[in-house]
C-alpha cells in the first residue's frame, strides 16, 4: 500500500481496487440483460456459464485456501467437502446438513492431521 498509505489511502484503495473492479461486472450485466426475456434460450447458456464459474470459485477456495484455512492440510479440506456432499445427498438434499457435516469433518481433519 506504499503509495496509498494512511487512512484516506486505504479508502481510495477500497474504491479503486475493491469496489470498481467488482461492480463493473454488475453494471455490464444490467447492460447485457437489456432486451433479453426470461424464456430466452441464451439464458440457459448464461446460467450454465455462471454455474461453472461458481463451481470454479468453490474449487479454488477449497484447494488454494485463503488465510488460516491454508493451515489445514489440502486432503483434509477436500475430504471435508466430500463428506459434506454425502451428507447433503443422504439427508434430503439439505444445505444445512451438508454445511454442518463438512465443517465437522474439517475440524476433525485439522485436529487429527493438522
Amino acid at each position: 500500500m506504499s503509495a496509498f498509505s494512511g487512512e484516506w489511502g486505504a479508502y481510495l484503495a477500497l474504491i479503486l481496487a475493491g469496489f470498481l473492479p467488482n461492480e463493473i461486472w454488475r453494471w455490464l450485466g444490467v447492460i447485457f440483460a437489456r432486451g433479453l426475456d426470461e424464456g430466452s434460450e441464451v439464458l440457459v447458456w448464461v446460467r450454465a456459464v455462471a454455474t461453472a464459474i461458481l463451481a470454479g470459485v468453490i474449487a479454488k477456495l477449497t484447494i488454494f485456501a485463503p488465510g488460516v484455512l491454508a493451515t489445514v492440510p489440502t486432503p483434509a479440506r477436500l475430504a471435508a467437502v466430500g463428506i459434506g456432499f454425502l451428507a447433503f445427498a443422504l439427508i434430503r438434499r439439505s444445505v444445512f446438513a451438508g454445511v454442518l457435516a463438512g465443517e465437522a469433518a474439517l475440524v476433525v481433519g485439522a485436529l487429527v492431521f493438522g
Partner: protein, 250 residues
Amino acid sequence: MPVPPATPAANDPPPLSAVGGFIAGFSATWTSVFSYVLFGTYTGIGALAHDFGFSLPWAVLSTILVWAGPAQVILISALGAGGSIVEVALAVGLSGVRLLPMVVSLLPMLKRPETRAWQLVMPAHFTAVSMWVEALRLLPHEPRGHRIAFCNGLGTGYGICALAATVLGFYLAARLPPLMSATLLFLTPLAFFMSALRNSRMLVDRLALAIGLVLGPLVAYWHVGLDLMWSGIVGGTFAYAVHRVREVLR
C-alpha cells in the same frame, strides 16, 4: 403493441405495493440458510480485516460497496500484504467475472416493459452468490409486479446480517482461535457448493457444476490469465451443448 394488454393483467395479480414486496423479500432472509452462512462468512471477513490492520469503518464500507465474499477476502489479504493497487484490482476484477452472468440471468426475471434501467441498479448491486441462488429459487412464486422490491428486500436483509457479522468478527478477531477462523473461512466454499447443488435440477446445471469444479482449479494451476472466466465459458458451453444434443435427440 404486439402483446394484447389483457394478457399481462390476467397473468399478474393486482399490482402490490413496493413496500409489500420489500417486506416479503426481507422476511425471506430470516428463514434462509444463507443468513447463517453469510453471518459466518462475514465474521471471518471482519476478523481478517482486523488482522490485516484495517479500521472498522473501512471493513464495514467494504461489505457495503463490494458485497461479494471472495472479492473481499482477496481485497483484504492482498492489499494488507502490500500488493499494488493495479495488481489487487486485477485479482478482484477476475473474481468478480461470475457476477456478470448472474446479473444477466437474474434481471430478465424482474423486468416488465415499463421497467427503467436505474430500477435494476440496486438488484444488480445486491447480486452475489447467496442472493442469486435464493432469488432464482423464490422469484417464480412472486408476482412480477413486486419482484424488484422483493430482491431489494432480500439484499437488504442479507446485507444487515453481513454488516452485523463484519462488526462482530472485527471485535472477535483477537480472541478467535485459529481453528475457529479456519472453519469460518471454510463456510464460503461449503455453502456455495451445497446451494449450487440444490439449485441444479436440470442436467445442464449439474454438468456445468461438475465440469467447473474440475476445470476451475486446473486452469488456475496452469496460470492461464482470467482462469475463472475461461473455465466458466468452456464448462458452461460444453454443458449447454450436451443439453442441446439431448433435446434434439428426444
